[in-house]
């Protein structure tokens, strides 16, 4: 173990990647008179630098490099390369992964992969649901539900999956045994599972967004979107905010802890067809029925690119781990490489654009003749794009689409059953409460925005607390003693009258005391008035004993 005092003088290569963003870059924070605090801050910075350096040092443990398909000549275009040619040229194992399942009967298929990318879940509209280990070709569960199935998703791992059926949503286990019927999730058309919160979110025809905690079985929240049927839904993997598309062209962002959407974006002039968000949570792509494709930078809610006139409306959009954007329209799939960058050159275009190098021409295209794409998902850690269509499902090979290096502590595509179990327990222990979902998760743990930005000194605190004490002590919070008024009209009496009879609190006691005092003063006054006692009369005994009262 290295000594913590070791100074890091030189930054490692690629260290910026591991750098943590800091909102406040000013050195003001260091200005303090407290030597101990200063030393602590210094130590913190040192530790931070050390940690970043260490993280950067692990960079060489990620030997896999991702690369895209490249052409030898300028005139050659990558999007002209056919899947057939690719399959012919790649190695056998990769070629085997280019799965193509012909299921003509129960079409169109909705497909979903689990987080590790090992298992495939298919839900045919006409009730055929199948879960399989697609790499091995092992079918794990196959169901014929005889009911319309709209969407399906794996839960925390491949052991469970939920299917949005005609009316209710059901949860099945890996063998296809029905475990739960979620009768509160009616008419769900879209399912999303938030892995860190163990929440199953559903939305659909009803216009309700419902969150179900699958670890405890409670319905965490249900919100009415008030925007009619939900046409599209996806989750932001960075902050677990749900993005819902609506028929009025808006995309709304939801958190289970807020009854109103966190933000509303007008992304199309017709209904939203599909939403996709990249892994880092920076960018969102939407397609609408108005033939538009929009790419947003959702960190600051600015439109990056707008493609207004796709040849036909884009029905699906998806973004891979490496940022490859896939858009499907009818039978066509088109992919762009660098569409998530700022600038005109990054805007996705169709065709070769006359060989203009400053245009983002498609990376790849594919067409399913006389077919229609229902949905598509990039396979995690694979250079594959899974497509569910009317006649089954197909994996397209998209070089450079998958993340090359996986973090086995986080998601391990090669995990054993034991590892999976342990991971499940660990993730349950690390489960985040539903109300931690915010637009900016970095605000968690920080100082409240409305609070003072500096620590209150003891003096300030004292003035605050003493001020309250003082008002109490001086009976500022109760009516004042008035000798002149008659007994019935005393403010104190009326105050007591207003109070609940049987509740005796500190204030009431004080009021009673004051009332007694008032009474004696009044009596004294009348006595003086009647010349029973002189004005300067002092009851010595009373005075002497007064101290005990």
């Amino acid at each position: 173990m290295s000594t913590p005092h070791k100074r890091i003088t030189k930054a490692r290569d690629g260290q910026e990647k591991y750098e943590r963003p800091n909102k406040n870059n000013s050195k003001e924070y260091k200005k303090s008179r407290d030597k101990k605090l200063k030393a602590n801050l210094k130590r913190m910075d040192r530790e931070y630098a050390q940690t970043i350096s260490n993280a950067a040092a692990t960079d060489y443990l990620l030997p896999e490099s991702s690369g895209y398909m490249e052409t030898e000549e300028e005139m050659e275009k990558t999007f002209r390369v056919k899947q057939r040619e690719i399959v012919k040229d790649v190695d056998v194992s990769t070629a085997n992964k280019a799965l193509d399942l012909k299921l003509n009967e129960f079409g169109p298929y909705y497909i979903n992969y689990n987080r590790t990318g090992t298992h495939l879940l298919m839900a045919g509209r006409k009730g055929h649901v199948a879960a399989m280990d697609w790499r091995k070709g092992e079918l794990r569960a196959e169901l014929f539900l005889n009911e319309t199935c709209h969407a399906a998703t794996f839960l925390q791992n491949e052991q469970f999956f939920a299917v949005a059926q005609k009316k209710y949503t059901f949860i099945y286990d890996h063998e296809g045994v029905e475990l739960h019927r979620l009768k509160q999730h009616v008419d769900a058309r879209h399912l999303e599972f938030l892995p860190y919160h163990y929440l199953l979110a559903t939305a659909g025809e009803s216009g309700w967004l419902k969150y179900q905690d699958v670890s405890t079985g409670t319905l965490v929240s249900e919100t009415k979107t008030k925007l009619g049927a939900t046409t599209a839904m996806t989750q932001n993997p960075w902050n677990a905010v749900m993005h819902l598309g609506h028929s009025n062209g808006t995309v709304t962002l939801w958190s289970p802890s807020m009854p109103d959407p966190l933000a509303r974006l007008l992304s199309a002039r017709g209904p939203i067809n599909s939403i996709a968000i990249d892994r880092s949570g920076y960018y969102m792509a939407t397609t609408g029925k108005d033939k538009s494709l929009k790419i947003w930078d959702i960190r600051n809610f600015q439109e990056l690119h707008t493609v207004e006139n796709l040849p036909t409306p884009g029905t699906n959009v998806s973004i891979s781990d490496t940022g490859v954007l896939a858009v499907s329209r009818g039978p066509h799939v088109t992919l762009w490489k660098d569409a998530l960058r700022r600038g005109k050159a990054a805007r996705p275009c169709f065709g070769s654009m006359g060989g203009n190098p400053n245009r983002n021409t498609p990376y790849m295209t594919h067409m399913f003749p006389s077919n229609e794409i229902n949905n598509m998902k990039f396979v995690p850690f694979e250079d594959l794009l899974g497509i569910g269509h009317e006649k089954g499902m197909t994996n397209l090979i998209i070089p450079g689409a998958g993340e090359a290096n996986y973090d086995a502590l986080e998601v391990n595509p090669y995990e054993t059953a034991k590892q999976r179990q342990e991971q499940e327990v660990r993730s349950l222990l690390d489960k985040l409460p539903a109300d931690t979902i915010t637009l900016d998760p970095n605000t968690l743990g920080t100082v409240d925005k409305t609070a003072s930005t500096t620590r209150l000194s003891a003096k300030d605190l004292a003035t605050i607390t003493i001020g309250a004490e003082k008002t109490k002590k001086e009976n500022m919070d109760i009516p004042s003693v008035k000798v002149d008024v008659k007994g019935k009209n005393s403010g104190l009496r009326s105050f007591l009258r207003k109070k609940t009879q049987n509740v005796v609190d500190e204030r009431k006691v004080r009021v009673q005391k004051q009332l007694e005092k008032e009474k004696t003063l009044r009596q004294r006054k009348t006595k003086i008035h009647n010349n029973e006692i002189s004005e300067d009369h002092k009851d010595l005994v009373d005075e002497a004993l007064g101290r005990f009262s």
């Binding site: 173990m1 406040n24 439109e303 654009m353």
Partner: protein, 904 residues
């Protein structure tokens, strides 16, 4: 003062003075611890009376026996006197006479002392003792006289003393006497003062006394007595001190004369008599200090002081720990027990024992080689006996050292001389020196040695070509790319330079020949040389690389090219014009077509284009040249400006052509191409975008118009600022006009029309839902809802008078309701198509800190501390372990010893 008195007494009554001095000196000797004032004092310890007695005695007879009798008498007298002491009047007279006597005696004594001191000293011992008796008497007399003021106890003591002379040997009495002694000592000191004062008075008034003394002694006496009276009055009580002395017998108490030095009765003196050891031991405590011990401080204060001292000590003790404690407090991690012992791996059955003697085979080999090659340090191994110096005889050794010393000295001198000479900068000196050397050399018969040497070197250089790049080393270097290395390159260059230098000498000799050639002729001459070389080669032989066909060809080609170059240059020199080489590149291009690039075929049109370009470039060049050549400045300017204009025109044309070329493109693509512009417009209104889609060119034009308008705006704004709004409107309206403009649409091609139709379809499809407007309205509504609101809570008629003729109250009650966020401060204020919810998420608040937590002083510091997550998922294992390392680490059950002192 003593001196003074001496001199005065010499003149008047020297004998007395002598006496006085004698006594004074005696006193001086006697008193060990006397101040200056006291040394001048002739009478001490109540010797006022002493003197009187003494003088009397001396005046009568200088014998001890007599004095004894006298003392006895005086004792008796004293008794008598004391009895009569309380008699009032006549005593004064008696005293006065006596005092006058003393004064006289004093002078006598002084004189005597001055004549021979030794004698006096000798005398003094005896004299002193004799004086004692007298002294006692006289003191008592005076004391008796002044008994009015004497304290009773003193009197009692005296009386006791006098009465119990014989039986006063018991200890109790002694102790009593001790007390009295203390008193007496004080009294003595007091008397000292008195006597000194007296003597002062004496000395001051001596002159008048001396003068007057003969005339009327009575007056003098009176004054003296009066003085004495005064003084003694003050200190009479203390005179008692000397009382203890009396007649010598074994029971008498030790008195002043016995320990003459201090004149104090010390306890030890008395203790010698005491047999009881216990008492002596007790008494020794007091022995050291004669003073009485101070009163002890109150216990409370004493304890406080002790505590203080103890605290100081303990503080020091504790402070020594502070460093260690501080270090531990500041340490990020502490593992207990501190300073854990390092556990070394101990040898066991399984560990391989390391034998010290066994050296590896390699080590042995190396040693052997070293020994063989005599590289082992011999000095190290040889003993002292083997050294050369050890075998020398001492004489030889001496001689050798002397020689060595001499040599060293000479060398040192030479060195110093050389340094001095080196410092001389005078050229003249060096010239002379050089000449001298030359002369010396000539005399020695050695002439021009260097020249021949140089010649040899040159010859060698020419023969060997050592300093050329074709040496083996140089070749290696170049081959391995070592020339890129700065060092080797430097070496190489140095080498080449060396060769150059060596060769330069040769060229120097030929400089005369070379001077003839100049400029171009140089090249020609080289050519000539080349031909010569060729001839040489021909002569050399017909084998070798240089004679191969391709080499020859290449050489021939080169030569030809050179010749052509030369001819060209000649022509240029003569005509001042470059040959027009237009034809050549063409030829070359063709050549390329044919020969060089077999893989790539270049078609004529491109060639033509390039040619065109080249021509144009040439034209420009020529024009520039002509401009440069034209002498008139104005002319130049004219030409240049025209040229620029031309260029502009050309560029315009190009632009136009580009625009034209773009026209026949795919309309769909065009549409998407120009979406940026259209999307900009979209932001304004839907209609704009729709129309823009159809006509790319029109959009361009509108943009152009906009631009121009903007320019105009700028100009206008310079002239008048308030027109801005109108102009903006103008531009907008222009835009709109353009949109509606019918001829824009009619101008378009069929393709554009197609696109327009498609857009139309979409517009038709979504005609019903005015999505954008709705969204904008929604945004406005949300902004207003969240904004601060003012509520009018006035109740009509409340607090007003009713009836006719009453005025309505103008005062209104307005309640301000604070909203979520003000309109201007909304996050989505500048964002298009975005509504951000600014309401506070109440469920999230619990995950936030309501105040800056303790050690931090502000928000930034706290949030900076959150920057780095500790979790395994976000950090490397190493840093994770570092970050979660506890501050204190210890094993359960481990005994943690208290901190050990690190400073002992």
């Amino acid at each position: 003062m003593a001196k003074k008195s001496k001199s005065k007494s010499r003149s008047k009554s020297s004998k007395r003075a002598l006496n006085a001095l004698e006594i004074a000196e005696r006193e001086l000797e006697g008193s060990a611890s006397d101040d200056n004032n006291e040394t001048y004092n002739p009478r001490r310890n109540g010797t006022v009376v002493n003197l009187l007695k003494k003088s009397e005695r001396r005046g009568n007879n200088y014998s001890d026996d007599e004095s004894d009798i006298a003392s006895d008498d005086s004792f008796e007298d004293e008794e008598l006197d004391s009895d009569e002491a309380f008699g009032p009047g006549d005593d004064v007279d008696l005293l006065g006479s006596k005092l006058s006597q003393t004064a006289r005696d004093k002078k006598k004594l002084g004189k005597l002392g001055s004549t021979d001191e030794i004698d006096v000293d000798n005398l003094s011992d005896d004299g002193y003792t004799s004086i004692e008796e007298g002294e006692l008497m006289s003191l008592s007399e005076i004391w008796d006289m002044d008994s009015k003021r004497t304290p009773a106890p003193a009197a009692s003591v005296v009386s006791k003393q006098s009465n119990t002379e014989e039986e006063s040997d018991d200890e109790g009495d002694e102790i009593k006497f001790q007390d009295s002694d203390i008193e007496s000592s004080e009294g003595e000191s007091g008397s000292e003062e008195s006597s000194s004062e007296e003597s002062d008075a004496d000395s001051e008034s001596e002159d008048p006394f001396d003068e007057i003394s003969d005339n009327d002694e009575d007056v003098e006496l009176k004054t003296i007595t009066s003085n004495l009276m005064k003084d003694t009055a003050k200190f009479t009580s203390k005179r008692l001190a000397t009382y203890g002395t009396g007649e010598e017998n074994e029971y008498i108490l030790p008195s002043v004369q016995e320990n003459e030095g201090t004149q104090k009765l010390s306890l030890s003196d008395m203790m010698n008599i005491v047999d009881d050891k216990q008492i002596t031991r007790k008494a020794t405590l007091i022995q050291g200090q004669n003073e009485a011990t101070a009163i002890p401080l109150p216990q409370r204060i004493q304890q406080r002081n002790e505590r203080k001292a103890a605290y100081e000590i303990s503080k020091d003790e504790v402070n020594r720990w502070s460093d260690a404690v501080k270090q531990n407090r500041r340490a990020e991690h502490l593992s207990f027990p501190l300073n854990q012992k390092v556990e070394h791996q101990e040898a066991s059955v399984f560990t391989i024992p390391v034998n010290e003697n066994t050296a590896s085979a390699l080590q042995d080999k190396v040693n052997a080689v070293l020994e063989e090659s005599n590289l082992m340090d011999p000095e190290k191994n040889t003993t002292f006996e083997d050294l050369d110096t050890a075998k020398m005889t001492p004489e030889e050794m001496k001689k050798r050292t002397v020689e060595m010393r001499l040599m060293r000295e000479l060398m040192f001198r030479e060195e110093r001389k050389a340094r001095r000479i080196k410092k001389i900068k005078s050229k003249a000196y060096h010239r002379i020196k050089k000449k001298e050397i030359q002369r010396n050399r000539e005399l020695a018969g050695v002439s021009d040695e260097s020249d021949t040497d140089l010649d040899i070197a040159r010859a060698k250089e020419r023969m060997t070509l050592k300093h050329k790049t074709n040496s083996k080393w140089a070749k290696d270097m170049t081959k391995h790319g070592m020339t890129n290395d700065a060092e080797t390159r430097e070496e190489m260059e140095e080498m080449l330079r060396q060769g150059e230098r060596l060769k330069a000498k040769i060229q120097d000799r030929n400089s005369d020949e070379e001077d003839e050639r100049k400029g171009l002729s140089d090249i020609e001459a080289e050519e000539v040389d080349d031909t010569k070389d060729a001839n040489m080669k021909d002569r050399l032989g017909k084998t070798g690389v240089m004679n191969m066909a391709f080499m020859k060809n290449a050489e021939a080609r080169e030569r030809e090219a050179n010749l052509q170059n030369i001819s060209n240059l000649r022509a240029f020199e003569n005509g001042g014009e470059l040959l027009d080489s237009d034809e050549e590149p063409e030829k070359e291009a063709l050549d390329e077509n044919v020969q060089l690039n077999k893989g790539r075929r270049i078609y004529a049109p491109i060639n033509l284009v390039t040619k065109k370009e080249a021509k144009e470039a040439d034209k420009i060049l020529k024009a520039e040249v002509s401009i440069d050549n034209s002498t008139n400045l104005a002319n130049r300017l004219m030409k240049k400006s025209s040229k620029i204009n031309n260029q502009d025109k050309k560029s315009d044309e190009n632009d136009d052509s580009e625009g034209k070329s773009k026209e026949p493109e795919n309309p769909w693509l065009v549409g998407s191409d120009d979406e940026d512009i259209s999307s900009k417009n979209i932001k304004r209104s839907t209609k704009v975008s729709v129309i823009d889609k159809d006509s790319s060119k029109e959009a361009k034009r509108t943009q152009k118009i906009d631009k121009k308008l903007a320019k105009q705006n700028k100009k206008n704004s310079k002239e008048s600022n308030n027109d801005d709004g109108d102009i903006l409107l103008d531009s907008e309206s222009g835009n709109k006009l353009n949109i509606v403009d019918p001829y824009g649409g009619s101008d378009e091609d069929l393709g554009d029309g197609f696109a327009f139709k498609q857009q139309d379809v979409i517009a038709d499809a979504f005609a019903g839902d005015n999505v954008v407007a709705e969204f904008v309205n929604e945004k406005k509504r949300v902004a207003e809802d969240d904004d601060d609101k003012e509520e009018d809570v006035t109740l009509p008629g409340w607090g007003d008078w009713a009836g006719s003729g009453t005025q309505q109250r103008k005062k209104r009650f307005i309640k301000k309701v604070k909203g979520v966020v003000q309109k201007d401060k909304r996050k989505d204020k500048r964002l298009q198509n975005v509504i951000i919810n600014e309401k506070v998420n109440k469920k999230n608040i619990k995950y936030q800190s309501s105040a800056v937590p303790f050690p931090f002083e502000n928000k930034e510091q706290y949030e900076r501390s959150l920057r780095m997550p500790l979790g395994q998922q976000w950090t490397s294992r190493k840093s994770h372990q570092n970050l979660i390392k506890p501050r204190i680490m210890t094993k359960p059950g481990e005994v943690i010893d208290p901190l050990k002192a690190p400073f002992k």
